[in-house]
C-alpha cells in the first residue's frame, strides 16, 4: 500500500517563507534587552497560510470522530456535540473578557456561572457546586481534598484509607494517591454490585470514605446503593460519587438524594462539551450541606441582593474552610461552562430525562442484540453501557483484535481492557444520540466478526486493513523514545 504519511510542520518548513505577519510598530523604537538575555535562535517552522491549512486538514482526515460516525467508547459518553454550542461559546462577550476584570463589568459571565451552579445542584441534589475543576480527575482530587479537610477539622486524624471498588477507573485511586492515602480495593459481587460483606469488613474508624461510580463501569446500577452508603456513613466515612456515568441518571435519580456527599460532573461527557481529541473537559463538583464550607475558593455568589427592578450583583465568595484554589482563575468558562449551559437550557427537565431514558434504552437494545453471540458476565438490565467479553471458546482472538476489526467496518471500537475485572473486556456505551439503524449495523458487524473469528481468524488478527494506518509498534515507541522533531539539519541552506 502506498505510503500516505504527512510530513511534520518542521519538514514542511522553508527558510524565509511567511504566513500571517504583524503590522509595523507605531511607537518609537527602543533597544532590545542586553544581548546576554536574548535567545540566539528561534528554530520554529516557516510556512505560508495555505501550507498550514492543508497540513491540518490532511491530519484531520486521519481521525475518526463523533461527526464521522458511531463512537461507542464505554465510560466516555461520546454523544453528538451540538453545533450551536460552538457558536454560543464564541460570542465576543465570552471570548474577550479577561478573568481579572472587575466583577461589575462581567455580570453576564457571573450570572451564567451562578445559574449553572444552581442547575447542577438541582440536577444532582447537592447543596453546593464549584465550577473550578478542569476535568473529571481534577474534580476527584478536589472532592478527596474536601473529604480530608472535613475529617481534619473535626480532629478525626486516624482516617487514611479510601475504599474503592475493583471496577473503578484509574483516576479514583490515583486521586487518593495524591494525598498519600492508601487504597483498599472492594470486590464486586456476582451481580456487579459492591460486595456488601467485603465492604462491611473494611469499614472501620480509619476510613476516609468510599469512591463509587454508580452506575459502575460495568454499567450496573448498584442494587444495594442505600445499604452501601449507610455502611460507609456508619463508620464515619464520606461517600464520593464518580459522576462520569451521570448520563444514565438525569431526571432518573439524584445522587445527593441517595446520600452521596460529594460528586464530580463531567461536563465533557454528560453535558455535551466536546472531548477535543483529549480535552479540555470541565469537572464541577457538587457537595452536600456539611461540605459546602470546604469548597474551593472562589465560588460565584450574590454580593448585593437585587430587587424587583435591579438584578443582583454577582461576585466571588470564599467558603469559610475552603481547601483553597484548584487552578488559576475560575474554571473552564468558555469552552466548558458556556457549552454546558447552552445544552441544559435547551433540554429543560423533560429533555434531560429523555437523554438518560434513551441512553439506557440504546445500551439495553445493543446488549439484547449481542447477548447470544458474546458472553456478558453481568447480564441484567444495564444502564447507559454494558461490558461483554471479547473472546470465544477455542479461539485465540482477543478483545483487541475485535476492536481493531471494527475499524474495518467503519466504527470506533468500544473501550477495551477496562474494567479490569472482566477478561478481555469490551465496554460499549452507545449514548442517546444514535438511531436504531446505526445500532443495528454495529450489532451486525460484531456478530459478523464473531463469525470471522471462526472462519477467517487471520483477517481479524491482522485488522485493520482498510484504515490509513495499521497496528502500531508500541515497543519501538517506548524503547526509542522519539518524543519530538526539529527543523532539518541543514535547514538554513535549504531552498
Amino acid at each position: 500500500m502506498a505510503t500516505i504519511v504527512e510530513p511534520t510542520i518542521f519538514e514542511l518548513s522553508s527558510p524565509g517563507r511567511l504566513g500571517v505577519t504583524m503590522p509595523a510598530s507605531d511607537v518609537p523604537e527602543v533597544a532590545l534587552p542586553p544581548k546576554d538575555l536574548l535567545r540566539s535562535e528561534l528554530p520554529l517552522p516557516e510556512l505560508a497560510e495555505v501550507d498550514v491549512v492543508r497540513h491540518y486538514t490532511k491530519l484531520s482526515k486521519f481521525n475518526y470522530s463523533v461527526d464521522d460516525g458511531f463512537y461507542p467508547l464505554g465510560s466516555c459518553t461520546m454523544k453528538y456535540n451540538p453545533k450551536i454550542n460552538e457558536d454560543t461559546c464564541r460570542l465576543p462577550g465570552y471570548l474577550f473578557t479577561h478573568p481579572l476584570q472587575p466583577v461589575e463589568t462581567v455580570q453576564g459571565n457571573l450570572a451564567l456561572m451562578f445559574e449553572l451552579q444552581d442547575w447542577l445542584k438541582e440536577i444532582s441534589g447537592f447543596a453546593g457546586v464549584t465550577l473550578q475543576p478542569a476535568a473529571g480527575a481534577h474534580g476527584e482530587f478536589t472532592g478527596v481534598l474536601m473529604m480530608a479537610a472535613y475529617h481534619k477539622l473535626r480532629g478525626d486524624t486516624k482516617r487514611t484509607k479510601m475504599l474503592i471498588p475493583d471496577a473503578a477507573h484509574g483516576t479514583n485511586p490515583a486521586s487518593v494517591g495524591m494525598l498519600g492515602y492508601s487504597v483498599v480495593t472492594i470486590p464486586s459481587d456476582s451481580r456487579g454490585n459492591v460486595d456488601l460483606k467485603a465492604l462491611e469488613a473494611a469499614c472501620d474508624g480509619t476510613v476516609v470514605g468510599m469512591m463509587l461510580t454508580n452506575p459502575n463501569t460495568l454499567g450496573m446500577f448498584d442494587e444495594n446503593i442505600e445499604k452501601v452508603i449507610a455502611l460507609v456513613h456508619k463508620c464515619g466515612g464520606l461517600m464520593y460519587g464518580d459522576g462520569a456515568n451521570l448520563n444514565a441518571l438525569l431526571g432518573i435519580v439524584r445522587p445527593g438524594d441517595l446520600g452521596f456527599d460529594v460528586m464530580h460532573f463531567n461536563l465533557h461527557k454528560t453535558f455535551s462539551v466536546p472531548h477535543g481529541g483529549g480535552g479540555p473537559g470541565s469537572g464541577p463538583v457538587g457537595v452536600s450541606q456539611h461540605l459546602v464550607d470546604f469548597l474551593p475558593s472562589p465560588l460565584v455568589g450574590i454580593i448585593e441582593e437585587g430587587d424587583d427592578d435591579t438584578a443582583p450583583l454577582y461576585g466571588f465568595i470564599s467558603p469559610k474552610n475552603s481547601i483553597g484554589r484548584m487552578k488559576a482563575f475560575h474554571g473552564h468558562f468558555g469552552g466548558g461552562l458556556v457549552r454546558a449551559y447552552t445544552y441544559i437550557a435547551m433540554h429543560g427537565p423533560d429533555g434531560l430525562k429523555a437523554i438518560s431514558q434513551y441512553a439506557v434504552l440504546n445500551a439495553n437494545y445493543l446488549q439484547a442484540r449481542l447477548r447470544d453471540t458474546y458472553h456478558i458476565p453481568y447480564d441484567r438490565i444495564c444502564m447507559h453501557e454494558f461490558v461483554m467479553e471479547g473472546q470465544f471458546a477455542g479461539s485465540d482472538i482477543r478483545a483487541l483484535d475485535i476492536a481493531k476489526r471494527l475499524m474495518d467496518y467503519k466504527f470506533h471500537p468500544p473501550t477495551n481492557y477496562f474494567p479490569l475485572i472482566v477478561h478481555e473486556a469490551l465496554m460499549i456505551e452507545p449514548t442517546e444520540t444514535e438511531n436504531k439503524d446505526t445500532l443495528d449495523r454495529f450489532a451486525d458487524a460484531l456478530i459478523k466478526i464473531a463469525e470471522e473469528a471462526k472462519t477467517q481468524p487471520d483477517l481479524v488478527k491482522n485488522a485493520p486493513s482498510t484504515t490509513p494506518f495499521g497496528r502500531m509498534d508500541e515497543v519501538k515507541a517506548a524503547r526509542e523514545l522519539v518524543l519530538c522533531c526539529w527543523l532539518p539539519e541543514n535547514y538554513e541552506e535549504m531552498v
Partner: protein, 449 residues
Amino acid sequence: MTYIPISPKERDAMLKTVGVKSLDDLFEAIPAKHRFPKLDLPPALTEMEAAAHLADMASSNENVREHLISFLGAGAYHHYVPSVVDHMLRRGEFFTAYTPYQPEISQGTLQAIFEYQSLMTNLTGMEVSNASHYDGATATAEAVNLAFAQFRGKRKKVVMSPTVHPQYREVIRTYSQGMGIEEAGDNSNVDLEAGPESLMALVDEQTMLVVVQYPDFFGRIYDYTKLIDDAHAKGALVCIVANPTALLMLKTPASMGADIVVGEAQPFGIPLWYGGPYLGFFTTKKSYVHKMAGRLIGETVDARGQRSYVLTLTAREQHIKRERATSNICTNQGLLALCASVYMSTLGKTGLQQVANLCYQKAHYAASELSKIDGFGLCFSEPFFHEFVLCCPKPASEVNQYLLDNGILGGYDLGKDYPSLANYLLVAVTEMNSKDEIDTLVEILKEME
C-alpha cells in the same frame, strides 16, 4: 429540544427487543422513593431562543474588543489570533474525537500533538514536552509532584519565589496538602530589592524544588543561571514558570540549566474566555520523563512500515499505575495544544518574532510615557518584556476605578496579593494596544486628581 434520533415507532420496537414495556421499566434497580425526581429547571429553549438568550447574557459584559481598552495581563493576555486558528479547531474531526487511544484512526490528533510537543521543546530548549496540563498553575503544581516523585519523598521542601504568580502559589499549596510538603519563600511581604539569588538562603539539603517565574510576576527579566547552579549544588531541581511570548525573544530557560519549564500557553492563540480553558505546558529533561505526569506521544512505525505516532510510556499514568502514579491527570487540554500549534505555525518564526517585538516595543513606549506623568514612576530598573510595575500616587484600586470610568481596563492591582504594594499597578501591553490607546491611557492618567 433534544438530539435524540429515535422515532416513537423505533423506540417501541427496541423496547420489545429488550423485553420491557416502557422506558421507565428500565429503571427498576433505582430505589423507588428517589426515582424520577421532578427537576425544578427552566423549560427547554429552542435553538433560536437559546442563541438569543446566550447572546443577551454575553452582551451584558463589557469586553476588551468592543468596549474596553485593556492593559490587564497578570497571567492572561489579549493577543491577536489569526483567523486560520479557529477554522482548524472547528473541524469536527479534531474537536469531536476522544483521546487517541486507537492510533490507527487517530493519527491526526497524534501527529498534531507530537508537533505540539516539538514546538514546545524547540521554544523552551528542553528535551521533552508532555501533551499538556489544565493550565499554567496546575502545570507548576505538577512540577512539584515530579520533584516529589523523583526524590521518592526523601526531600520535602519546595522553595517558591514570592514573585511567582500568586494564584500559582495558591494552587501549589492546595495540591500539596496531603504530601507533608514544606513551602518556603511563599511570602506576600516581598522585598522589592532582593534579586533571585536571595532565594538561596532558603535552599538546603531538604529542598527538592525551587520555583521561579520568567519574566517574574512583576515583569522583570532575570538570568537565573547562577541561582540554578547554586540550587543544583544543593541537589535541588529548578522549575521555571515561563511566559511563552517572552520566550520568543529571550534566552531559553534550558540554556540557564532549568530542569523543568512550565507555563501558561494561553497567549498562543487561545482567547481570554474569562479564564479558561487555557493550556498548561510542561517541558523537562529526558532523564525525568518517567516521573513526568500526563500524556506523551512518541514516534513509531505501523505494521505497513509507515511513520506514525502513539501514546507512549503509558504505564506511568493513572489507568495502569493507579494509586502509584505521579498524578491522576487523564483528560488534558488536547484541542488547545492543537490551537497553540496552529497559532505557532501560522505566524511562523517571522510572525512570532514580530509579535514579541511589538509587545516589547509598545510596553516600553507605554512605560516611558507613563513614568513621565507627575506622581507616577516605574518601580524597577530591571529589563522587562511586556509587563511592568507602575508606582501610582494613590492606591491602584482607585486608579483602576478612575480608568474604568473612562473606558479603560487598567492594570492588575498588586495590593490584592501584596499588602505593601497597594499603590502599585502591574501594566501589560501587547501588540493589540495601539499607540493611540497608550496615549489615551497617559492623557487620562494625567488628568487624574
